[in-house]
Amino acid sequence: MLAGVKFRNPVIAASGTFGFGLEYRQIAQKLGGIVTKAITLEPRAGNPMPRIAEVCGGIVNSVGLENPGIQRFKTEILPRLRNLKSRLIVNIAGSKTDEFVQIAEMLEEDQITALELNLSCPNVREGGVLLGQNPKLVKNLTSAVRKRTRKLLIVKLTANFVDPAVTARAAEDSGADAVTVINTLFGLVLDENGQPLLGGRTGGLSGPAIKPFALFCVDRVAAAVKIPVIGCGGIMNGQDAYEFLCAGAKMVQVGTANLITPDRSWKIVRELAVICRLKKSVQFKKVRKARCKK
């Protein structure tokens, strides 16, 4: 249950790590939902190869925004996602507020439950600063999209060089229904000669390596806003998911783990169910208190 909408279970496949849901529909249906790879107004080619590097406790990716654009998403992909038995969330990216708004307007299809605004895109107007690093831009963007969509509106926050509690409040104040915390951390990977390994030069760090930081952010954001927090970052198993719930998340997103085995999120659903039953969620309340005392 998120902002009045029911989900089969609290585990969602994170954007960019489950394609568009076409490859593993049978898994997608068993999850709480799936978030599509980011969609932009125009098609994007993405970054040059290689796009992925393995690092200690995680991966760094520089896929970039490769996607067919909103038009082809609607004509070629959406129809194939019809009758999906779980919630479909579309991740939207753009470089201008206007692009986000246009895409949002084009996604009024019933089969879509929510839009997730991806704020980790370099913002053209502010010289390399990410949209998501500027609370004012977050506010403007969220309000602008809010006015044009009746879908559930989720804002996906970055914790790179910005306090996500601040941007979360900006999103909340502007009508967001929920926030996803966090996106990847910035990462640079050099090869043995000290040269950048990734085609995109730098990338985004995800996986277990970012889990303690992501938990910190979720805990902090959950204390700062009233809208639900979707926890994300390094969740590899049911225990990890449980910890995010204890830190104050209402639901979780699983990213990197899907790359290892496509049914990993479904395994996490089952593991989490066992743990929650065991703990009878008594712990939840305790933790919540521990957090609030802070």
Binding site: G16, T17, F18, G19, E23, Y24, Q26, I27, K37, P43, A45, G46, M49, P50, R51, I52, A53, E54, C56, G57, G58, I59, N61, V63, E66, G207, P208, T256, N258, L259, I260, T261, P262, D263
Partner: protein, 254 residues
């Protein structure tokens, strides 16, 4: 359809083929898997937070329900796999990717650079009964040669190039290709090896289609992460793990 669930498999035989290359015969538990030539598996290195991702490894052969992988140690993942003794259980996901197209009654040319010859062996075994097969194996040092006799046992003609000149011709694989192609009627070419080699062969082949077995660093191996693209001549990328790994080289920008 790619499988969503990984399977447990036991290493039933491990052999060292060269100083850097080893062969694993594995037996998947409780499943039948019928990979086609060109397909690969994602092999999970032993549990270590440093080795999160699966390693894509082509099927080099099959026997009953067993799979053979031939692996060159190039980094920490393959090194970790090379240390596993027979009997160990490993976690594998597959078969993944689109198979190589099969042909009948053709003159087939297989070009394998280094360990790239491995997936071509499985292809050769399937094609051998109904095609005439010529194989070129190119390696740097004669001691890096693998599978030569296995190909011969299939009835294939085998040519060798070594950079040190100690076996076959002295030179690189692509030195041999023009001479061989000249003498082949309607050849069908399959090639696996470094990008430059594939590129060269494609040039030499002119209008003939070349089926290249491509490699790229992979995230998922299952088509969901978009990490393994190769640029299409018509624009955009195709995913090597999903629309590949075997592609018509005419259609991509190497």
């Amino acid at each position: 359809m790619n499988p969503a669930t990984s399977i447990s498999a036991s290493i039933i035989r491990k052999t060292k083929l060269t100083s850097e290359i080893f062969s694993l015969w594995v037996k998947p538990e409780n499943t039948e898997s019928n990979p086609a030539p060109g397909q690969f598996y994602g092999i999970k290195p032993p549990d270590n937070a440093d080795l999160l991702l699966r390693r894509p490894i082509s099927v080099a052969d099959t026997k009953n329900d067993r799979l053979r992988f031939i692996i060159r140690v190039t980094g920490k993942g393959t090194a970790a796999l090379s240390r596993l003794p027979a009997g160990t259980k490993i976690d594998i996901l597959g078969p993944l990717g689109r198979p190589a197209p099969l042909v009948y009654n053709k003159n087939v040319l297989l070009c394998g650079g280094g360990v790239g010859i491995a997936p071509l062996f499985y292809l050769a075994r399937i094609l051998a009964p109904s095609n005439r097969i010529t194989t070129i194996i190119g390696v740097r040092r004669a001691e890096d040669l693998i599978l030569v006799n296995d190909f011969r046992t299939l009835g294939a003609r085998v040519l060798i190039s070594t950079e040190d000149g100690k076996k076959g011709i002295k030179g690189i694989l692509t030195d041999l290709v023009p001479r061989i192609l000249d003498k082949m009627a309607e050849p069908v070419i399959y090639a696996c090896g470094p990008r430059e080699m594939l590129k060269k062969i494609d040039e030499i082949a002119g209008n003939l289609p070349v089926w290249g077995f491509l490699e790229e660093r992979m995230g998922c191996g299952t088509g969901i992460c978009y990490c393994c693209g190769i640029r299409k001549k018509t624009g955009g990328y195709l995913r090597i793990c999903r629309e590949g790994p075997v592609v018509n080289l005419k259609e991509v920008d190497l």
